[in-house]
């Protein structure tokens, strides 16, 4: 019965999406200051739809929790022997379940928007909800017509066939839902952009409504990508943290677009500039989310990440892409000309710096998109190509390096127009840091160019991130400014980790007999013994490694090579020794004929900073949201418009000197 209720909830939700779409569209017919009587159903429809979609997801969670083997999806992806946590995470570790999660988040964010957003003009709100309903409808159709998660088996299975063991990891409990919430949060930005475009209401108050959604989605994407990268790093046992795989790029591309959007929506909110550009990015960011879904689900590209792929489903999603992205770009082309440009500004200004960085981010996005799709293009001419780091690293660095430089200076510039000469001290400091660090590091040896540049830029950024606070009363600095400072500092921290990992990593691969010792960096690693161990649904061989630093007290590491039996598959569980200044990463390989074991050890200095930086960036985003909410609450009580605008400009981080009058 439970599965049938879930299915019914989905059908009802789909029907409500139709109501929301139609009713919302009537809002466009509303006269000035009035609401069309047929438009009043959009909000309640969105709220109830959210409830139903979330209910359907909860029912599927329950089916997985109790391993209901009469449901095809559960039988195909779960197993009664699995630990409960992985039974639950198995709900979204497959195609149908992850699409249901996607729709659930989409509906929930639409419901939240409908329930709590009161500032938008009713016409724009109606149009926005209509678009949101339209998007949701497509994904309901996808679930109900081609990927029904609640499909029953004619005869219940005796036992499930398990779950991809790579996915039986705590990383997977966190990573996909976070990423999805971010992906789908961008759907609200998309719907708002379309709604504003349809009603021509692209202005600062619209941007203030859009901003928390963009910030929230961006924070979730940041955390999701950070978690995903760490997961791939320790779970795949390859010792790398980013592979430029199509599936990874699928999450990076919306993040790049959302980063640009977040900055441009702030400019629109504070300065009423970049109207068309903000709308474009709003459309682009969610388009990238959907494109990512398409690439991952359709199997048109080869990826090492295992996913259920199916060309027919690919065709369905491609149809949805055509409808939504094609439709959005068409409306954009027809309407964007009617959106006024907004306020003007000089090249040397805060806006100018933000535009520059927006363009750089877009260029990196184009580089990643091109590299990801290039194999698809050449394959059309029967040439198979694999595009890897030799392309992505230098090509993206060309745009990332100037972006980081301007990022260091941008927050110090004044709005509207500024004289770079005013920032002599800051510019000299930044230049000295970049050059000084590169020179100092080069003194100690030969290092590759990109990590070297990364180290110099990281040092400059780390200092520059705090310069906006210089000469200010720290108690009166707005929370959102602290958010920006923290996020920019987080970028420096991540960059530092990436550069160190690239420049200073050491590696040792050895065949070791039990009792043998290998030296790597300051560490002596002794293979004490190799023993078989068993888990709930796997067996493994486990090495006991005694790691001693500089002859100190040894620490035990236990890397495993696991074999799962349902489905049969082997994975490598790396063992990590985390120090403040880096990680020792150990993997056990095969046994050679002479009885020695293959052991692989890396010393990766400061590698953890990559993810600490990601967390700091996310935390900065959270602070920015908190700051905005506070400002919004205050603004509601304040009546004067001027006070509100000042608060907003202040929240973006005012330069130490007063804003020049317009």
């Amino acid at each position: 019965m439970i599965a049938e209720i879930g299915l019914a909830a989905l059908w009802l939700a789909a029907a409500l999406a139709v109501l929301q779409m139609v009713s919302g569209a009537f809002a466009l017919k509303s006269a000035e200051g009035e609401v069309n009587p047929l438009a009043i159903y959009a909000r309640p429809a969105a709220v109830v739809q959210a409830f139903l979609a979330v209910l359907a997801f909860i029912l599927l969670l329950r089916a997985f929790a109790i391993t209901d083997l009469s449901i095809k999806l559960v039988a195909a992806n779960s197993h009664s022997m699995k630990p409960l946590l992985y039974k639950l995470t198995g709900t979204w570790g497959n195609h149908e379940g992850s699409m249901l999660l996607w729709v659930g988040v989409l509906a929930a964010s639409g419901g939240l928007l409908a329930a709590f957003e009161k500032r938008l003009p009713e016409r724009t709100m109606g149009a926005t909800l209509a678009v949101q309903g339209f998007v949701a409808l497509g994904f309901y159709a996808f679930l109900l017509l081609s990927s029904n998660p609640f499909e029953r088996l004619p005869v219940p299975a005796a036992e499930g066939t398990g779950l991809n063991p790579l996915l039986q990891d705590i990383g997977l409990a966190i990573h996909p839902p976070t990423l999805y919430a971010g992906y789908v949060g961008l759907s609200v930005a998309f719907s708002l952009a379309m709604g504003a475009l349809l009603t021509r209401e692209v202005n600062p108050s619209f941007a203030r409504v859009m901003r928390p959604w963009v910030l929230g989605a961006w924070v979730l994407l940041t955390l999701g990508i950070t978690a995903g990268s760490y997961w791939a790093y320790y779970e795949l046992g390859w010792g790398g943290w980013w592979f430029w795989d199509p599936v990874e790029n699928a999450s990076l591309m919306p993040w790049l677009a959302a980063t640009a959007l977040m900055h441009s929506v702030s400019v629109l909110a504070a300065r009423d500039a970049l109207r068309t550009w903000t709308i474009m990015l709003g459309v682009l960011a969610f388009s990238m989310s959907m494109l990512g879904t398409f690439l991952v689900r359709s199997g048109v590209l080869t990826s090492v990440h295992a996913f259920a792929v199916d060309p027919e489903r690919g065709a369905f999603i491609l149809g949805l892409l055509g409808l939504y992205i094609g439709g959005a770009f068409t409306i954009f082309a027809l309407r964007a000309g009617a959106v006024a440009e907004g306020k003007r500004f000089a090249v040397a200004s805060r806006e100018g710096a933000l535009v520059f960085n927006n363009v750089m981010l877009s260029a990196i996005l184009a580089i990643v998109l091109l590299g990801t799709l290039y194999p698809l293009l050449t394959e059309a001419f029967n040439v198979r190509v694999s595009v890897g780091p030799p392309y992505f690293n230098p090509a993206s660095a060309i745009f990332a390096v100037p972006m980081f430089l301007v990022m260091a200076v941008g927050p110090l510039l004044r709005w509207k127009s500024d004289k770079p000469a005013r920032l002599q001290f800051e510019l000299a400091l930044i230049a000295a840091l970049v050059i000084g660090v590169i020179a100092a590091v080069s003194f100690f040896g030969q290092f590759p160019l990109l990590p070297l540049l990364g180290l110099g830029l990281a040092a400059a950024l780390a200092v520059a991130a705090f310069l906006p606070l210089r000469g200010r009363n720290l108690k009166r600095v707005p929370v959102a400014t602290w958010g920006m400072v923290l996020a920019h500092f987080g970028v420096a921290v991540s960059l530092f980790g990436m550069a160190c990992e690239g420049a200073f990593s050491q590696e040792r691969l050895a065949a070791v007999a039990p009792g043998g010792t290998e030296q790597i960096g300051d560490f002596a690693v002794t293979l004490e013994r190799v023993t078989p161990v068993a888990g709930p649904n796997w067996t493994a061989i486990e090495a006991r490694l005694a790691v001693s630093e500089d002859g100190g007290e040894p620490v035990i590491l236990n890397p495993q090579a696991r074999s799962f039996w349902s489905p049969p598959m082997s994975t490598s569980e790396s063992a990590l020794l985390t120090k403040w200044d880096g990680q020792l990463y150990a993997v056990i390989g095969n046994q050679a004929e002479d009885g020695r074991w293959q052991i692989r050890i890396w010393w990766k200095p400061f590698v953890t900073f990559i993810w600490y930086g990601g967390l700091l960036i996310g935390l900065g985003g959270l602070l920015a949201i908190a700051g905005r909410v506070r400002v919004d609450v205050k603004r509601r009580s304040a009546t004067a418009k001027g006070a509100q605008r000042r608060a907003d400009i202040e929240a973006l981080g005012t330069p130490p000197t007063p804003i020049p009058a317009e």
Partner: protein
């Protein structure tokens, strides 16, 4: 009035992508065309070793018996997927000579220790010179070379389990 044609650019780009993706979805994934180099002798080449552990590769190495020439790179993800199949071929007594494309010695060594080493020789092709000369444009690709150094068969993309018998049959034909 200012031209607003540029506003249509995103739609045009997207339409191109959608057309391409749609076309690719309808294509059989394992479709394959013969290189113009099939039936031709290998061009002259002599490559330095790709890392310390194995000798480099040259045209002179392809005499006496049929061999596989595998074009790969440590940065290439499908090459990881292919590794077990190369091991299977090696276990069948096939000699595989590798050419590593735009690679670094330490990366090559890392890759081999991680995913196994099916090769007897690996040449380092830093600028894709030899790769282009034999009509390969991507990694991985695998060629069957007969005892006289003539290219007899080309496999584009990673070798899947189903491809192993095909390659073994082609090697037999080239004998």
């Amino acid at each position: 009035m200012r031209s607003r044609l540029f506003l249509w650019v995103p739609l045009a780009l997207f339409a191109f992508f959608a057309g391409l993706a749609g076309y690719m979805l309808t294509q059989d994934k394992d479709q394959f065309v013969e290189s113009t180099m099939i039936g031709q002798p290998l061009p002259q080449f002599a490559l330095d070793p790709a890392f310390g552990g194995l000798p480099g590769a040259s045209k002179a190495d392809f005499t006496g018996k049929p061999r596989l020439l595998n074009i790969w790179a440590s940065w290439c993800l499908p090459c990881i997927a292919e590794a077990p199949q190369l091991e299977a071929l090696k276990a069948q007594g096939v000699e595989i000579i590798g050419i590593a494309i735009r690679d670094r010695p330490e990366d090559v060594a890392n890759f081999l220790s991680r995913y196994g080493n099916p090769y007897t020789r690996i040449g380092s092709d830093r600028i894709s010179e030899v790769q282009l000369a034999i009509g390969s444009s991507g990694v991985p690709e695998t060629f069957v070379i007969d005892a006289k150094g003539v290219i007899r068969y080309q496999h584009i993309g990673d070798i899947r389990a189903d491809d192993v018998p095909v390659l073994l049959a082609e090697l037999e034909k080239a004998r």
